[in-house]
Amino acid sequence: MWALFVARNFEFIRDRAGFGWNILFPFLIVAGFGVIFSSGAGSEFKLGVFPVNPGSMIVKDLNIPEKLKSYDHIKIVPFRTRDEAMDKLLHHKIDILLKNAGPKLRYWVSDSSPKGYVLEKVVKESVIPEDMFASRVIRQQVKGEQIRYIDWLFPGILGMNIMFSSLFGVGYVIVRYRRSGVLKRLKATPVTAFEYLAAQMVSRVLILLFTSFVVWFGCNFFFSFHMQGSYFDVFVVFLAGTICLVSLGLVIACRGTNEELTNGFINFICWPMMFLSEVWFSIEGASAWVKNVAKVLPLTYFLSAARKIINDGASLSDVSPEITILLLMSLVFLFIGSLLFSWTR
């Protein structure tokens, strides 16, 4: 088993393109989001204005409500003509369109645009004097350290990278080995299926933990993540999550010689997991069935536990339900994977 473990590590590390990409990919995504959010380009809403010369637009000179010029998260996009702007509105490139003239505020909005719907309310609100709200609403300040989006996103990116590497790096690779006869050659030796699968698993788990460590500290150097919990606790969660996802990779790898089919199958698992397990955004407001589907996905528990520790400072006992579920899922995956494993079919 040790020989297979060492051989698999050599295989992974010497495949420089694959190894480099495993580190570079999450780093690039985190870096990309870091740049987007640190440069203030993270405006959520796009408000088109016409007629305006894009080359010489001065926001304070625009003939639109003053409030709209000062709102955060609204980006004003100038257009020379109405036709040009309407085309962008119809294609959801902007969320609402305002005319830059006249005493009466005139705007266009697409009925099929959710962001346009919200922005329309904001535009209407912008013509109401601020003191109208004074006696009707009370603003409360959020106390404590606020979590930046990048801090919330980072565990998701790491988890997503581990998911892809586990499923493709184990599932896809073993199917390729089976097709090319490598597994058949191993079957002709005294190596048992358990030894082979265990070596694959241990190798991949250690390599993924190592690459995650490199990515973490590389990204932390540039973005100074706010770590609320203990590094040991988060290591335990990453270990449990990685074991679970690698075990899932072993289930995918247990049969088959068709690489294209395996590729499609892995994508079929990865994409729902990426969206429903809250890698990029929360599904807090999603319908009940979506949340129920998310509950059967291992990445959901992995990211939930990781974020509780990293963002909220939770302890291991706080995330013990998630860790228990991950370990139980691992056992089920390992049992199915080893039961169905075939060297040649």
Binding site: W2, A3, A7, E11, R14, S180, G181, K184, K187, A188
Partner: protein
């Protein structure tokens, strides 16, 4: 009753794929220390029989006895296999590949001896994905010999090799056989079978159609003055001249 003289025996072996018979009631007894050649056109069932004997695939019916008993856990420790088509771990060197496989066995030859025997010393630091087809064949043979096997299965061991490399591999096989190792060889090269094997079985359509020493087969099938006295004549006479798969 156990037959201690035969290292491996197969009895009434049958195997079909999707209803098509690949092996149809084959029985073979291979004496210890012999070099047994299995010849046949493409699709005759040679590789299927050999892979059943190797325990790679399971037969539909029939018995396989190794040293007179059912094969057990020690079987894989005592056999060596060179498959017809095998890829290796691409990013391991030749030497690392041998060391990795050596670790699977309770006893094995020193890796340096195998490197020397198969003339792999000058490429021992080369990655498997950088070596030539001939070098790969020699490495695969080295892997088959690594554990000093008692029984060696060689499925077309010299396919794709140049004449020099082929002669070299023949010498290795002959030396192994002279040292008491049993060899089961499939090949399309009649000269190879004639040169190495003491017993040859000719197969077609899943059955053995004749078996004997090269001399006895030639005596039997090359009586006609117009028929050249060689194994190719025997082969063509028994399997016909029509093109196969």
């Amino acid at each position: 009753m156990k037959s201690s003289l035969n290292i491996i025996e197969v009895k009434n072996l049958k195997k079909a794929y999707k209803g098509k018979k690949a092996v149809d009631g084959v029985s073979i007894s291979i004496p210890k220390g012999s070099c047994f050649g299995l010849l046949g056109p493409n699709g005759a069932g040679k590789t299927t029989i050999v892979e059943i004997m190797e325990n790679i695939i399971q037969p539909d019916s029939g018995d396989i006895l190794y040293k007179g008993d059912k094969r057990n856990k020690t079987f894989n420790q005592e056999i060596g296999i060179q498959f017809q088509h095998t890829e290796l771990l691409a990013f391991l060197t030749v030497e690392e590949t041998l060391k990795t496989f050596a670790a699977f066995y309770q006893k094995h030859l020193p890796v340096e001896d195998i490197l020397s025997l198969c003339m792999l010393e000058n490429i021992k630091k080369s990655l498997n994905n950088k070596i030539s087809g001939g070098q790969r064949q020699r490495l695969l043979l080295g892997l088959a010999l690594l554990n000093e096997p008692e029984l060696i299965f060689l499925d077309e061991p010299s396919t794709g090799l140049d004449p020099q490399a082929r002669k070299h591999i023949w010498n290795i096989i002959r030396d192994m056989n002279d040292n008491g190792k049993t060899i089961i060889l499939t090949t399309h090269y009649m000269e190879e079978a004639q040169s190495l094997c003491d017993t040859i079985a000719i197969m077609d359509k899943g059955s053995i159609i004749d078996q004997g020493s090269p001399e006895s087969l030639m005596d039997k099938h090359c009586r006609d003055e117009n028929t050249p006295r060689n194994l190719e004549s025997v082969f063509l006479k028994l399997t016909g001249k029509s093109l196969r798969e």
